[in-house]
Amino acid sequence: MIKKKKIPEASIPTSSMADIAFLLLLFFLVATVIDVDTGIGLTLPEYVEDVNTVKVPKSRMAAILINANGDVLLDNKPISVVQIKDNLKRRIISKIDLPSNKKLIVSVKTDRKTRYNIYIQALDQIKQAYFEVRDEYSNQNFGSNYNKLVGTQQKDVQKVVPIIISLAEPETVKK
């Protein structure tokens, strides 16, 4: 009688594969930084040597001045930072039907010693005012919020409510 030879099983032990994979997974979980950069976007004007100033009528301007102590002037009237939004919103809405060369220009001017935080707060207020006006306009005309509109509709809203922010250079005297 021929004894059947037992064939030894040739297999890689896979029971620990899951453990190894878990270890790797853990490493990548810990090492991953999913941070989306968020912030306030802005486009700077091009640099020109000699600035030829263009006179802008006062009715178009909303001049925001921030001094070193963090006090805010809006068109020469003292105002607190959190009031900027409502104040500007009214003025943006009042110019909604005017042609594009008569829309509101918001000018922000700071002192060299102004703290960055206050500047960002002010800029935030301005942006909020614009965003809220845009949302209201889109709701009236297209029936949904601005960021839910399609591209062409967004362009229309942008045309009606353009965001014009002018950054004035701070006074160099106090350097």
Binding site: A18, F22, A31, G39, D111, Y116, Q128
Partner: protein, 137 residues
């Protein structure tokens, strides 16, 4: 009356054969999404908070400038002087035309310095700017 232990007749095991596959899928996801930190931040800063913030979708376009609470400026991996901002950023713009400069500035920094940096950026034609802020809740 004797108590009998009741037991289901079916098998009581969770099939684990597919576990490695599932884990590998997760692993793959994290491997693909991971961007390992490329730069060490050498300055101390605490970002300001704001409400009306936008997300930058395209992370590839972003180039960071850090400004710490002691007024030090960092680009890439090293601290730089204000005068060096323009050439460095100009070179960056050459290699990436529509670069977005994200300013990560400490909330206590002076506006004078920020304006100086902005002037340098204007000279370097890096005009798309982003003030990096955290969301105010």
């Amino acid at each position: 009356m004797a108590f009998e232990k009741r037991r289901a007749n079916s098998k009581q095991e969770i099939p684990t054969a597919s576990m490695p596959d599932i884990v590998f899928m997760l692993l793959l996801f994290f491997m693909v999404t991971t961007t390992l930190r490329e730069v060490d931040v050498l300055v101390k800063f605490k970002l300001p908070e704001a409400k009306a913030i936008e997300k930058i979708e395209n992370k590839r376009l972003i180039s960071y400038i850090w400004v710490g609470n002691n007024g030090k400026i960092q680009i890439n991996d090293s601290l730089v002087k204000l005068d060096d901002v323009e050439p460095i950023m100009y070179a960056k713009r050459q290699s990436l035309a529509n670069v977005i400069v994200s300013l990560r500035v400490d909330r206590g920094a002076d506006m004078g310095l920020i304006t100086d940096i902005q002037q340098e950026l204007r000279k370097a034609y890096c005009l798309r700017l982003n003030y990096s802020t955290n969301l105010k809740i």
